[in-house]
């Protein structure tokens, strides 16, 4: 191959390399960017936000289920461990789940896996000082893989007439630093 041909080959290879690095970087970073934007859209961190029944105007998160009422707590563990409390609806499907900053669902428990009518979840970042806790039989303790993420409560809406009671139940859910949220009894 001529010297000019070798030079062209070098520049083409360099372009392909840059394209691959950019592509792989974009694919890796995309979920982190989507999650950061979603957490921002969902509202103040370490606060429980209860949504309305999703309809065509719901634009915060893609592909919402119109048959589910959601309560979301975007969390930031930089201020200490988090306590999430909520009544549990055993009348239909209900779940509490956790997502890390890369959008992975690293925890989920549904109403059939929780005894009792209330749920308490403590979320701790690895290496964080352990919070002072009283004795409780049904306490979920979780290590969060990333400092920021989301706790999401789902409650199936069986019929329209169940909606007010279900909404009132989700509005009792709390999310905040351990000191700021009391355990439901």
């Amino acid at each position: 191959m001529s010297e000019r041909g070798q030079e062209w080959l070098f520049w083409i290879a360099a372009t392909v390399l840059v394209a691959m690095v950019v592509h792989l970087g974009a694919v890796y970073l995309l979920p982190h960017a989507v999650m950061a934007r979603a957490l921002e859209k969902l509202g103040t961190p370490n606060t429980m936000h209860v949504g309305r029944r999703p309809d065509a105007t719901a634009r915060a998160v893609v592909r919402p289920s119109p048959d589910i009422l959601y309560a979301a707590c975007p969390y930031d563990l930089s201020k200490g461990p988090l306590r999430v409390t909520s009544p549990v609806n055993h009348a239909s499907y209900w779940s509490v789940s956790a997502f890390d900053a890369a959008t992975d669902n690293y925890f989920v428990k549904n109403d059939q896996q929780i005894n009792g009518d209330t749920m308490e979840l403590i979320l701790v970042k690895r290496g964080q000082p352990w919070p002072a806790l009283d004795n409780a039989l049904e306490r979920i303790i979780l290590y969060a893989p990333t400092e920021k993420g989301l706790i999401l409560i789902r409650a199936v809406i069986d019929t329209e007439k169940d909606l007010p009671a279900l909404s009132a139940m989700l509005h009792q859910a709390r999310c905040g630093t351990v000191a700021s949220v009391a355990r439901l009894r």
Partner: protein, 192 residues
């Protein structure tokens, strides 16, 4: 040509190709699915740390906050049972029995991944809302104009759309073999 110009060219073209490939592979399109069951596609790694980077990125864009497959299986249909892309102007019929799960729903989404506006605020049918025939079978009209008699109907706008079938707490046979789950068929009935 000056070397600096060549380097700039490599960077500009490389970035353009890299981002273009990302758009084609990840941004453009729908929920990924490695497992197909008729028109329905799903994956057992949605939402989980076992997801490959491409699945994770596509789920983040097209199905954010999906639960892992042990809790919920998400099947998506972008084509009917004959392999033709779904079009809201056409009328389709979903027919079958309750899938094996504690609770299920089927929802229509527009090309933008959001619920499709319609006068009756109808977006889905579910285990609790579907009207069943004697024997437990159901038939649901999807798309087209409001069918006479109402009942089971999911409006689908006037453009391309997709359906998501959610199976909450899928039965063990479905969870182990999602490719052979008994799911509703999706047949085109008519097009204007």
């Amino acid at each position: 040509m000056h070397v600096a110009v060549k380097i700039l060219g490599v960077v500009v073209v490389g970035v353009a190709i890299g981002l273009g490939a990302t758009w084609v592979v990840v941004v453009h399109g729908n929920m990924p699915g490695g497992v197909a069951d008729g028109p329905w596609k799903t994956s057992l790694v949605f939402g989980s740390a076992q997801s490959d980077p491409y699945t994770r990125a596509r789920v983040a864009l097209h199905g954010l906050f999906a639960l892992n497959s042990k809790e919920t299986l998400y099947y998506t249909a972008t084509e009917d049972s004959d392999g033709h892309a779904l079009d809201g102007k056409c009328r389709y019929q979903l027919a079958g029995r309750d899938p094996n799960a504690r609770w299920w729903s089927i929802t229509a989404y527009g090309a933008d991944d959001f619920l499709i506006p319609n006068a009756r605020n109808l977006f889905s049918v579910s285990a609790t809302s579907v009207v069943r025939q004697a024997g437990g079978k159901f038939a649901v009209d999807v798309g087209g104009e409001n069918p006479a008699g109402g009942g089971n109907w999911i409006p689908a706008g006037t453009g391309s759309f997709s359906l998501t079938l959610r199976l909450y707490n899928p039965g063990p046979d479905v969870a182990l073999d999602p490719e052979h789950a008994v799911l509703p068929s999706l047949k085109k009935v008519s097009c204007p």
